[in-house]
Amino acid sequence: MEFFFEVLIGGLLSGVMYSLVALGFVLIYKASGVFNFAQGAMVYFAALTFAGFVDMGAPLPVAFVGAFVSMIVLGILTERVVLRPLVNQPQITLFMATIGLAFFIEGLAQIVWGASTRRIDLGITDEPIPYILDRFNMVVSTFDLIAAVIAGALVAVLAAFFQYTKIGRALRAVADDHQAALSIGIPLQHIWAIIWTVAGFVALVAGMLWGARNGAQFALTFVALKALPVLILGGFTSILGAIVGGLIIGSTEKLAEVYIGPMVGGGIENWFPYVLALFFLLVRPEGLFGEKHIDRV
């Protein structure tokens, strides 16, 4: 039973890491109704930029600020060059644009910083907490716990931002209808630039944490694949959904890998969350916390 709980807790904490990436998707989707295919590339770009500044000798806070400024510039440029010409275009057009953007960002990151893996050392140990190991014979990593706290804090801040600020309300209006939002004086371009910057900030935090574990490397673009089933479960428009979805996906994929995997040859944790998401789609297409879509007939 101890092992079951160890896997469960490990899965929940891994799920938090997925949620961090999913949050970036949710932010863009809420503001523009577009699934941002480039979110994984943004995580990679942010992590590589942060690591690049550190390698140049910058202290961690300076590197963080430098990377954040880079993400702001990237967000503004994305709005100017990619999104602004596509206002009022069908959402599929915007989606296709983000596919192109993903390739561009991946290439840009490698041109600027090189394709080599860079180490990120945040000074957080990724080792079992001795107290929990000795007392409960369970492995829980310090790093995972701190990542969970950071994710929780991010969610609280973002939820408050969307719910209680003027910009948050404007963001929700833009997500609902671009043209209507424009007609009542909401500056669409500013809103998009802000939301891409916030998504860039979330990508930076996710990139730093994922990069601290795996190094800042191209494979970080794949974490986006981990976030997809999280979004389907939690709903594309809910910040809380991203967290809950992450927890569900993280825990079930780990339990499935450990308990079902050996029966079918193992290596199932990549596709198992998608199967789970498929079942959710059949029962609740909008996800656990997504907005129910009602069409007027």
Binding site: E6, S14, D126, F218, A219, F222, E269, N270
Partner: protein, 456 residues
């Protein structure tokens, strides 16, 4: 607007032709299926950098018996489909169809195996690829050179036995080994030999696959913790390696009880893992470092002339850079061997096939080249397209790899039984008749004939 379009067209044309050395008829053209971007670009940069630097060194010293090497890279991103496309594209660049082809990917090796046979272009797979091609009777144009995955896995077991206080693999009786592997053709190659060794020597193997790309391995390492193995064999590539080392640290599994395949034992794997990698061990071809005379020669000749391929010169002499140098060295030695028989001119694929099948690189020759100890003695024959089968082991001390053993050899008899059976099965499926290796060795058969029986 018109000016802008013209400018764009000019820029695009320049970009297309920039860096493309023209393949001359009197140059030996080498196709390079490289990957410098994408998920494995981190590894490819060093491998292809070392390889190109070596070829530049050879050219700087007059070429291979006066024949200059030219090459062109085609970016595969380690993707099978792109690998096939690149092979097809580059083979048309010279009359020799690319001299020989190194896919530097097990997946691409499988994808172009039949094409290389039809084109009579030797398929060279140094430390990877289709391993039953060691049986040259059925695979005249495929060369899994130096050491196969199976021989490496078998040698690893002997190494583990020695680390656990034994001497031979038989001393592993009653022990438990966890095999954490990349769930792909590459990762599954050694499964059969591990199972056979386990049955023969009465130890247990716990198989734990990791799905590509392996950036999240918590569940797998929790399974390792639950299994309480005496040792872990880690068979990863790319992002999976540093993630696995971190995950081992996360569950508290000692890295001193982990040994990796030689594609899991480079600085690219250990540096990103930080302190989590200290104590970890891995197989390798031989010694590495900047003090090796050949590497010094490259620095003095190629880099001082500002012709080096590596932007990050700190990686010169690293594990993967050295492996790239060996790719170049083996390529050149095969051309040189072929030239000794056919004359000092550009070699065709068929002639290089002969060169590869008579390749002999011993420590004496390596010393002449300034590369003593960089790889084991290798002698290729028609019956043995592997040529060595030995590996050495190294350990990461937190800053660099250190050699910790001499060359070890696994159970050759057992491995060859398995590989020969697999090769025979392949030949039956493809209706290939075996070559007579005694006749090839005696020189009465040219070596590359691949007769197919008529379909019934």
């Amino acid at each position: 607007m018109k000016f802008k379009k013209t400018l764009f067209a000019l820029a695009a044309t320049s970009a297309l032709f920039a860096g493309m050395p023209a393949a001359q008829a009197d140059d030996q053209f080498v196709s390079l299926l490289s990957y410098r971007v994408g998920p494995y670009g981190n590894n490819g940069i060093s491998v292809f950098g070392g390889w190109i630097d070596y070829m530049k060194l050879v050219n700087a010293k007059g070429g291979v018996n006066g024949v200059k090497l030219t090459w062109e890279e085609c970016e595969t991103e380690y993707n099978n489909a792109r690998g096939v496309e690149c092979y097809e594209r580059l083979k048309g660049k010279s009359p020799t169809k690319g001299t020989m082809i190194h896919p530097v990917s097990t997946g691409i090796s499988y994808s172009i195996l039949d094409k290389t046979l039809a084109d009579k272009v030797p398929l060279v797979m140094i430390g990877y690829g289709r391993t039953d091609a060691v049986d040259g009777r059925y695979f005249p144009y495929a060369f899994p050179l130096v050491t196969t995955y199976q021989m490496q896995a078998s040698a690893m077991l002997k190494f583990i036995s020695q680390r656990l206080g034994g001497k031979e693999t038989a001393d592993l009786k009653g022990k438990k080994i966890a095999f954490v592997y990349h769930d792909s053709a590459f990762g599954k190659e050694p499964l059969e030999v591990l199972r056979a060794e386990s049955a023969l020597n009465k130890f247990e193997v716990v198989e734990i696959p990791v799905a590509h790309p392996g950036i999240e391995q918590t569940a797998q390492w929790q399974q390792v913790r639950q299994a309480k193995p005496d040792f872990v064999i880690f068979w990863g590539w790319g992002a999976m390696n540093s993630a696995g080392l971190q995950a081992a640290q996360k569950v508290g599994f000692p890295r001193e009880k982990m040994v990796g395949v030689w594609w899991s034992g480079a600085e690219e794997d250990t540096v990103p893992a930080g302190p989590g990698a200290k104590g970890y061990m891995a197989a390798n071809f031989g010694v590495v470092g900047k003090d090796i005379p050949l590497i010094k020669d490259i620095v003095d000749t190629v880099y001082k002339a500002k012709q080096g391929d590596m932007k990050d010169e700190s990686k010169i002499g690293s594990v993967l850079y050295s492996r790239g140098v060996l790719h170049g060295l083996i390529t050149v030695e095969a051309i040189r061997t072929a030239q000794a028989k056919f004359g000092k001119r550009v070699m065709t694929g068929e002639e290089i096939q002969w060169g590869l099948e008579h390749l002999k690189i011993d420590q004496k020759r390596l010393k002449e080249l300034g590369a003593e100890g960089m790889m084991p003695d290798t002698k290729v024959t028609c019956a043995d397209h592997e040529g060595s089968g030995k590996v050495m082991f190294q350990q990461w001390d937190g800053t660099k790899w250190n050699k910790i053993t001499d060359y070890l050899e696994g159970n050759r008899t057992l491995v060859r039984q398995l590989l020969d059976a697999s090769a025979k099965k392949y030949a039956e499926e493809k209706k290939i008749q075996p070559r007579d290796c005694a006749a090839v060795d005696a020189g009465t058969e040219t070596g590359a004939a691949n007769k197919k029986t008529a379909k019934k």
